[in-house]
């Protein structure tokens, strides 16, 4: 059987005029690293579930994307992350929402799918499940970036919830 993988790092308005060559190179490098992480697993006989998890983890670890380390900030200046995963084999699924101290939320969603009787865990309960399954507590500082803080302050000043400040070329790329 052939194998294949595709990834995305978010859609929305991405302004060409504010995309510097350096930033574009960094973003494209992260996208390639992600898709190749998944491909490496598939080419060595790994499962599609492991491949999508590995690919998403790379993007969660990059500050350029709104997930994991690059997550946008809530009104209370925290990150609050959601993730889900589904296997086409048997339609098993796992999902988590509102977690604040999990470095790679996609790994927690996968753990919910594989190691629990449930499909969807939220907030404190999801984190309790995580720590019972050897996930490490990650401080909020890990997720903090100046870009996301500036974005939040601008939104607060205007009383907005959407991303309408174009300091970066993809500030209006949706979460």
């Amino acid at each position: 059987m052939p194998f294949s993988i595709a990834i995305h790092g978010g859609a929305g308005t991405i302004l060409r005029e504010q995309m510097t060559p350096e930033l574009q190179r960094e973003i494209e490098a992260a996208l390639e690293k992600s898709v190749r992480a998944g491909q490496d697993i598939l080419s060595s006989g790994g499962s599609a579930v492991d491949a999508v998890t590995a690919a998403v983890k790379v993007l969660e670890d990059s500050p350029h994307f709104n997930a994991g380390r690059g997550s946008v900030l809530t009104h209370r200046e925290m990150v609050e992350m959601d993730a889900s995963i589904m296997s086409g084999k048997g339609k098993n699924a796992g999902a988590i929402a509102g977690v604040k101290h999990i470095r790679n939320p996609i790994e927690l969603a996968k753990a919910v799918m594989e190691d629990s009787e449930h499909v969807f865990l939220i907030g404190e309960g999801a984190e309790s499940f995580a720590f019972e399954h050897d996930f490490l507590y990650t401080e909020q500082d890990y997720f903090y970036t100046d870009r996301r803080y500036d974005q939040l302050q601008s939104m607060k000043e205007k009383g907005l919830f959407a991303l309408s400040e174009f300091r970066y070329p993809d500030d209006n790329k949706y979460g």
């Binding site: 059987m1 052939p2 194998f3 294949s4 993988i5 595709a6 990834i7 995305h8 790092g9 978010g10 859609a11 929305g12 308005t13 302004l15 996208l31 390639e32 992600s34 898709v35 190749r36 491909q39 598939l42 006989g45 790994g46 499962s47 599609a48 579930v49 491949a51 999508v52 690919a55 998403v56 993007l59 969660e60 709104n66 997930a67 994991g68 690059g70 997550s71 946008v72 809530t74 009104h75 609050e80 959601d82 889900s84 995963i85 589904m86 086409g88 084999k89 999902a95 929402a97 969603a109 969807f120 939220i122 907030g123 974005q151 939040l152 919830f161 991303l163 790329k173 949706y174 979460g175």
Partner: protein, 135 residues
């Protein structure tokens, strides 16, 4: 929001989506990324889907599961079903965003009604493509 879809050599599909949500969110807001059927879906012999965009609209349109249903019941190709939803029902409602989808043969599809979507793929022949803008 980030996501991935894949087909492995055993013929199994999978999809994953992860997000930080929207800036300045309150009230315990959750978008579509965490919701199976709205932001993520995988069904062997049908399709794997991961979405990104204005989550409330993707929830209301049940985008990922609806795409699978169009393939399953209407015999549409994954590309036809993706365009119908993203360029039709979602756009008509005012929802902006996109999705990645993979069919049972490992063909990847990208659909968006926004100016861009960060995306990449490696096809069954090993060819890598990386794109940012819609055009």
């Amino acid at each position: 929001t980030v996501g991935a879809v894949a087909l492995d050599q055993y013929g199994d599909l999978a999809a994953a989506t992860s997000t930080g949500g929207i800036t300045n969110k309150q009230y315990g807001r959750v978008g579509d990324s965490a919701v199976i059927g709205a932001g993520t879906w995988a069904e062997n012999q049908v399709v794997a889907v991961s979405t990104t965009g204005m989550g409330e609209y993707f929830l209301q349109e049940n985008v990922a599961a609806d795409l699978a249903a169009r393939v399953r019941y209407l015999n549409e190709t994954v590309g036809q079903a993706a365009d119908h939803i993203i360029q039709g029902e979602l756009k008509d409602r005012g929802g902006e965003g996109g999705l990645i989808a993979m069919d049972k043969s490992g063909n990847a599809y990208f659909a968006m009604n926004s100016s861009g979507m960060y995306r990449a793929s490696i096809d069954p022949r090993g060819k890598c493509k990386i794109r940012i803008y819609a055009d």
